[in-house]
Structure formats: C-alpha cells, structure tokens
C-alpha cells in the first residue's frame, strides 16, 4: 500500500492539493512537495475528477480525499479544512494541483507565519513584488478590482486576493472548517477572516504559468466570477456574523456539528 504514514506518526502540518482533472500535473506537484518539504503530510483532494487524478496522486505517495462528485473548489477545500481540524493539524498549506505554485516557496510562507505579529493566514502573492507572472488580461482586471476593495475594507494592502497559495494556522482552519464560500472562495475567505478578527499577510512568491489541464475559471466565466464575488462581498458585509455559529438556524454548514 502506498500509505506509508501510519496513524500515529503524524506531522503537525498538512499540505492540501485541490485537483480536478489534473492527471498531467498532480503527480509532479506531490513529488515536488515530498522532496522540498518532506515534513508535510500531503493530501490530494480529488474533486470528482473523471480522469486518473486520484491514481496518479496516490502513486506519487499522497493521501486521497475523494469527493463523490464535483463540489467546486470551495467545497473541496472546505473538506480539507474539516479533515485538518479533526485530525488536529496545527498548520495547513494549500497548493494548487496544476503546478502553478512552487513548493519551494512554502518555506517563505512559514517564515512569515512565525513572525512577531502572529498572522493567522499567509497568502502567496504574485503582485506584492515584481515576480514576472503575467495573468490573462480579463483575470488581471478582476484581481485588481478585488484587491482594491479588500484593501479598503481591511485597511491594509491586499495585492493578490485570488491567490490559492495559502498557509493557515489552527484558528483559521477552525473558522473555515465551519464555513467556507462555495465557488471562487479565495476573495470572500479573506473578508471572513477579517470579520473574525483574524489577520492575514501577504508574501511575494514566484508562480509558474499553468502546467496543464484547464483552469477552474474559463474566460467565459470571468464575468460570472466578478459578479458573484462582488455580490458575496457586499451582501456578506450585511451579515451579523461572517460565519454561522453552531445552533443558528440559517446555514446547513453550521449543522454538521463541528
């Protein structure tokens, strides 16, 4: 069996790799992770893929969290927050399965997490520094609009709120295990964290162009993405609490008893 890690010998940090039909790249991401950051436990979330994503990831030595159907990135990543929360991990780092994020940069995220202001979430940003990454124009416009809005709302500079290259500590994991936005979650997640008086910081990282597969955000969906996230941001501002507490009637997410 490729499960080399028995139940007892657990690391305190979990690396999660969301992957949807990424058979071309996921094995490379997992083996890069295991080579550059061997202290991490690696879980690949197979979000209802129709290709060999799960098998490739398993052979590369990752644990698999297989969704019975495609939940979308939000639901898939939330499953990992629940998993990390229940298994008692202290940190969780999220790395895309398409090879866009460089596992060698994880050390940077951890260094920022260890600094004196004790941030709860560290985001790897493509724009905090000149790093040579060029996003498609339709995407860039959206990113800058969200970055502008979030910077005002949080009263701190946010440059790359759509980046999925993130490190969370235990408190952030607990919040997101309880509630995490459905689709296109990254931008809203920043605001949710802020409402819980948790803090986030960005560190400049290098990112690659996509290695293969199709992005979860096609060009046609960019507009829907913009509108959906803007709606979520502004309606979210009107909520009494960003994340429902257990026992509150509104959301089912709160009923799962976490």
């Amino acid at each position: 069996m490729p499960y080399r890690t028995p139940l007892i010998e657990r690391s305190s940090c979990l690396a999660v790799v969301p992957a949807y039909n990424e058979e071309a790249t996921v094995a490379g991401v997992v083996s890069d992770l295991r080579r550059t950051a061997p202290q991490l436990d690696v879980v690949v979330i197979d979000d209802g893929s129709t290709d060999a994503t799960a098998r490739c990831a398993e052979q590369a030595g990752a644990r698999i969290l297989r969704m019975p159907f495609n939940l979308g990135i939000g639901g898939a990543v939330q499953a990992c927050f629940k998993y990390a929360h229940e298994q008692g991990y202290d940190f969780m780092v999220q790395v895309d399965g398409d090879g866009q994020h460089d596992p060698a940069e994880i050390a940077k995220l951890f260094r920022a997490m260890g600094e004196s202001d004790r941030p709860d979430m560290i985001c790897g940003s493509r724009f905090a520094d000149a790093t040579g990454y060029v996003a498609p124009i339709s995407r860039r416009t959206g990113i800058h609009v969200f970055a502008f809005l979030l910077s005002r709302l949080l009263r701190q500079p946010v440059t790359d709120p759509t980046s999925g290259f993130r490190l969370y500590n235990r408190r952030a994991i607990a919040v997101f295990a309880r509630d995490y936005p459905h689709d296109y979650p990254e931008v809203e997640a920043v605001l949710m964290l802020h409402h819980h008086r948790l803090t986030m910081r960005e560190v400049p990282v290098r990112m690659f162009q996509r290695g293969g597969g199709v992005s979860s955000i096609g060009s046609g969906k960019s507009f829907y993405y913009m509108v959906k996230v803007l709606l979520a941001l502004f309606v979210g501002l009107g909520r009494r609490r960003a994340v429902p507490e257990p026992g509150e009637p509104a959301a089912v997410a709160a009923e799962s008893g976490i």
């Binding site: 028995p6 979330i45 499953a79």
Partner: protein, 129 residues
Amino acid sequence: MDARLQIVAILGALGLLLLVLELVRRRALMERYALLWLLCSFVVLGLAVWQDALAVLARQMGIVSAPNALFFVAVGFILLLLLHFSAAMSRLSDQSKVLAQRQAILEQQLHELEASRAENEEPVMGSLR
C-alpha cells in the same frame, strides 16, 4: 367579470387545490412544500368566487379590468413559489455538500485504517504459512 371566465377560473383553482391535496395524500409532495401551493390555490379560488373582493382589489391597484387583477395575483404567487424553490435548492445543495465532504473524509480514514491493519496482520499471516 364574464360568467364563463369566472367558471374557468374557479375550475382551474379548484383543480389545482385538489391536485395538491392528492399529491400530499400520495406522499408525492411534502407538506413543507405544499403549504405555499395551498395558499396560492385558496387565494385564487377565493378571488374567483368572491367577485366583489376582486373588483375592490382591482380598483385599489388601478387595474381597469378585474380579471387582470386575478392574473396579477396568480403571477405574484408564481414568483414567490419560484423564489421558494431557489431557496430550497440552495439548502439542498449545501446539505449535499456537507454529506459529500463527510463521506470523503470517512472514506479516507477507512482506507488508512485498513492499510494499517493489513500492515499489522502481515507477519501473523507469514508465521501461519
């Protein structure tokens, strides 16, 4: 309102009412979702039977022809029902998300448990052979 139109409206509303009740009786429609349909058919039936009320309603809303007020009320109910369904659907997809996540986590843990058990049992199997 024309007598023929009134008969059609009454029959239509009555038909809807009976259909909803029958579906609930056969357990094909949950009471939770039948309530709004019942309210809808009752109100439309009431307005179709009680012409004076419909006329007052039409006058108050500035609608010249009373039957149009009946349509207006019916369309209003349809919109309300559709919104109700969207809300119910959101709830269902959230529930199915929670189920899917739980199932995936349990499956992973089962897999791991079986793997570790297989590892522990192997030497025993070897000694038997």
